[in-house]
Symmetry: C2
Subunit: 320 residues, 2 copies
């Protein structure tokens, strides 16, 4: 059996056929064009899946299920997309619409959850029964795996780790609250911290790597300059690592998973970031002498979207 | 079948025989005397269980299991108490020791987890597949129930909700960190806030209810004065409710359980507190128009310790 996985993003629809080992056999994609009717977009989902099936010589009877990772919230019971702000969707009967074309089980879940699921089946956390995935990108997303299955909550609104309060009455967040974790742990946070430091240290290597203008700073400039030993960049880096260690400790104190996986753009800083986070974490752990979650870097990169969506079919066998 | 439940506290050992409906058929207790050898204390566990069995006319063949709630951390796999600071225990083979006397399955878990389990079997969250229990007492403890089973984490150090950072670099906590949730949401936090307010408003009704001295303030004085409309007490109450709503939102954003149950001393403020928390919570919820966790008061009070410990036997059937 093989599984179809669809990774729905704001710019593109990516579909793939994935085997039981988590290998993508073939892929196809189309532009999202979010403003059109959902029925039209759904037809493109189907076209992409069929295209990938053809490329991989998959017959319809081999296809076990279709899974979709969305940048939003789904209702598992009804197969509706409840809310998907980037696509402009609200209460869209996506499962029903897809099943007009292909009569297979359809599973829909949040994209960060799906990426976490991919890592837990075919990536770094593949031998873990429980893991928490953190996407450190423009924002911070979360994916929770418990007993090998994704957990998006009783109402589908869980694993929004980026919007947990880390600093009560702290920096205002787009969500309307203050001090959300993503205001301190995202790539956006790195850039904000760096811009502030560069006002005092305009000669920082960060500014040079940003082409001479702090306006062009990105997280990579900061991490690269820090790796080179640039002091202002190291100030930013250490502050960022400190907040990230606090956030990771919060995950351990709450759920204590076997592993916490760092993904998303910031994680491209690689072992340099990982070593620093691991070194800082014990400062915050409640039981410093007891075993706790291993912290690791994600392995699957962008493929996690398709692989995890496909694996929703395997993972969504009913819980006990 | 019936289940034995033992509630181990710093002052007393309480044991009970509990039926499948969650009714305590009989109880027995003994002083803890934490300084003696664990073997001696274990004999008192057994004596109390036997005593409660006698009182309830329970025959040995009717006893399904023995469960123990401890103010610490247990290793489910080995049946060892890993760490129990109030009792002075570290790596105590409690299951092995108990099974020298009674050859029945032994389950050990954290006391807040056990209380949450009791509520989820026989209390306010009894129809919920997932719930989070918060004990708001001297500190703040947490109990997580997922798919009807307690979740203490992959290493047994989870559900320490009181020690999640809510205010980065905030008030110092006994644990060595700063800004832990329990520094803002416990009864101790209420008292601290009240003492500070009473320095400016020594004529507050709170001080009167504390017998005229702010040194004797407790959480009840604050809530009672607030109920009577005392303005300084209302200032404290509103600040406390605000932090508690933030913490409850963090639980929803992370795990999104079906229900969040408030227990412990502070919850005796009852519907007055519950109404205020429910009114404040939408300010923080990420998806204000979508369904989210119901917030309720615990129902079982002190009995939750025995009932939940007993139910560990029912709940610990292996997960999927």
């Amino acid at each position: 059996m093989v599984f179809a996985g669809i990774d729905l993003g704001g710019t593109s629809i990516k579909a793939g056929i994935v085997n039981e080992a988590g290998k993508i056999l073939a892929e196809a994609s189309a532009p999202t064009n979010p403003k059109r009717p959902y029925q039209e977009m759904t037809r493109d989902f189907i076209t992409c899946v069929m295209d990938a099936m053809n490329k991989s010589d998959t017959k319809m009877e081999q296809l076990a299920s279709i899974g979709i990772g969305i940048p939003g919230i789904a209702d598992q019971a009804t197969g509706k997309v409840v809310f998907c702000p980037n696509i402009g969707w609200r209460d869209i009967p996506l499962k029903e619409e897809l099943q007009k074309y292909i009569d297979r089980p359809v599973y829909i879940d949040n994209d960060a959850t799906v990426a976490g699921l991919a890592e837990s089946y075919a990536g770094v956390s593949r031998n873990c029964r429980s893991s928490v995935f953190l996407t450190l990108g423009t924002g911070v997303g979360g994916g929770i795996i418990i007993d090998g299955k994704p957990w998006s909550g009783a109402h589908g609104i869980g694993s929004e780790l980026g919007h947990m309060t880390l600093v009560a009455n702290g920096i205002p967040c787009n969500c309307g609250n203050n001090g959300c974790m993503e205001r301190y742990c995202s790539a956006t946070a790195v850039i904000q911290m760096a811009k502030q430091v560069c006002m005092t240290y305009p000669e920082s290597r960060m500014v040079y790597l940003a082409g001479g203008s702090p306006d062009n700073l990105n997280a990579r400039c900061v991490f690269d300059a820090a790796k080179e030993g640039d002091k202002p960049a190291l100030m930013v880096f250490e502050k960022y690592v400190d907040y990230l260690a606090m956030a990771i400790n919060n995950v351990s104190a709450f759920l204590d998973p076997e592993m916490i996986v760092l993904g998303g753009g910031v994680s491209h800083a690689g072992i340099f970031l990982l070593d620093a986070v691991r070194a800082r974490l014990p400062r915050y752990l409640l039981y410093k002498s007891l075993p706790s979650a291993r912290v690791e870097l994600a392995q699957l990169g962008n493929d996690a979207g398709i692989i995890g969506a496909a694996f929703l079919g395997m993972a969504n066998a009913p819980r006990e």
